[in-house]
């Protein structure tokens, strides 16, 4: 098995963000940027723990939380895979609420750096274009 976990995740153990949360966020980003296509199997908890040198319980915690949220599903004998169908039960409002804190951070930071709002909108536009093209 090639080192799948290292390919997917980059963990900063000394960041203030708990490791399990970093994994959850990264899984979601990978799915959103289509790097993890629907139906694809993620590396096992054991693999993640060994390759990234973290506690297996942390990896397992991230995976079970993602399973609870409906992002991943567990297939017996094979491991965790990205859920095929669209996230059920999450309305547009809920999804927008999820992204809102991130947008708030962007706004606050731009204020700090004294960047013009127009510039931020330009940057966002080009990023969205990139994702859309993939």
């Amino acid at each position: 098995m090639e080192s799948k976990a290292k390919y997917y995740f980059q963990i900063a153990t000394t960041s203030g963000v708990p490791i399990y949360r970093q994994i959850i966020d990264q899984v979601k980003i990978l799915i959103a940027t289509k790097k993890l296509p629907k139906g694809e199997f993620l590396p096992s908890v054991r693999q993640v723990a060994t390759e990234l040198e973290i506690n297996p319980m942390t990896a397992s915690k991230a995976y079970s939380l993602l399973e609870k949220e409906g992002v991943l599903e567990f297939v017996r004998g094979q491991g965790m895979k990205v859920k095929e169908s669209d996230l059920p039960g999450e309305s547009l409002e809920q999804m927008e609420n999820e992204i809102m804190p991130l947008l708030n951070e962007v706004v606050a930071k731009s204020k700090q750096l004294s960047l013009r709002p127009n510039r931020i909108i330009e940057m966002l536009k080009s990023l969205l274009k990139e994702i859309g093209n993939e």
Partner: protein, 292 residues
């Protein structure tokens, strides 16, 4: 009750009139990797020694692997491994002789694991212990504590003398152990980066008591640094529950809090008519803040 491999109830211990442990209570769940943090002299070693029955607490009870640590049965000792802060092994023995000596006391000894570690950690069978460096002796000491496949491993500053490579190897070894079988690892350390990687539970020892005990992630969620930017100058200290420190400069204040939640953020935003940005702290910074 049987969920915890170590239970410490209301333990007190003092030396020469100085109180080191003061009514301390702690439970270590089975299978966890448990890190004990504390300033120098806070009593980490004393607590560990009380856990193992090397010291007798003046008050309180300790139960280790279901047994009274002061009168450990031999079967319990077979499940226990301990690495003290600076181990002294007979200096005239070689590495292999020291291993054979220790192995002879245990009924179950994992020869493969020990050999694997000896070569992975670059110890030579024929090196005399008295001539090895502190780091090498520490490595040997760690190996001697694992050979009998214990259920509870207690380390007292196990990596103090190890270089970063060796520390990483040590962490890998712990993770392998924990993944392979039912093993609880309890260790005290100053090196927060190692703890962040490998521990799932953390306890902070302060003033003879446990200041925090729980999941590491919980701790990271609880202790945050907030930057308050207000439209008017801020006067007086910022009064918020659980504030640990506060620095004010005109309209801006940087406070560190314990017990952070979203409501607190909203309250501050309302009170100071401004914005609050939340900074996540890593374990080292949390330790510094909690020990102010």
């Amino acid at each position: 009750m049987s969920d915890h491999i170590v239970e410490v109830k209301n333990v007190s211990k003092s030396f020469n009139g100085k109180i080191v442990l003061n009514g301390l209570t702690l439970n270590v769940p089975k299978g966890s990797v448990f890190g004990l943090l504390g300033k120098n002299g806070s009593g980490k070693t004393t607590l560990i020694k009380c856990l193992l029955g090397l010291l007798k607490p003046h008050k309180g009870d300790v139960v280790t692997i279901g047994d009274n640590p002061l009168k450990l049965k031999n079967e319990t000792k077979e499940k226990l491994g301990y690495v003290p802060q600076s181990d002294r092994i007979y200096p005239w023995l070689t590495v292999r002789q020291a291993i054979n000596y220790t192995a002879s006391f245990y009924s179950d000894w994992d020869v493969e694991l020990v050999n694997k570690l000896v070569s992975a950690w670059e110890l030579k069978d024929t090196d005399k212990v008295g001539l090895m460096s502190e780091g090498q002796v520490q490595k040997l000491s760690i190996i001697l504590s694992l050979g009998h496949k214990p259920e509870l491993l207690v380390f007292d500053e196990p990596v103090a003398s190890l270089d970063p490579t060796a520390r990483r190897q040590f962490i890998k070894m712990i993770l392998d152990l924990v993944a392979d079988r039912e093993c609880t690892v309890f260790f005290s350390t100053h090196i927060t980066t190692d703890l962040e990687r490998v521990a799932d539970r953390v306890a902070l020892l302060k003033d003879g008591k446990i200041d925090f005990c729980g999941e590491l992630d919980e701790l990271k969620d609880e202790v945050k640094r907030l930057k308050v930017t207000s439209s008017d100058p801020i006067t007086g200290n910022i009064d918020v529950e659980g504030v640990l420190s506060c620095e004010i400069l005109n309209n801006e204040a940087v406070i560190s809090v314990r017990g952070f939640n979203e409501r607190m953020k909203k309250e501050l935003e309302d009170k100071y008519k401004g914005e609050v940005s939340v900074e996540n702290l890593n374990l080292e910074e949390i330790f510094l803040e909690l020990n102010r």
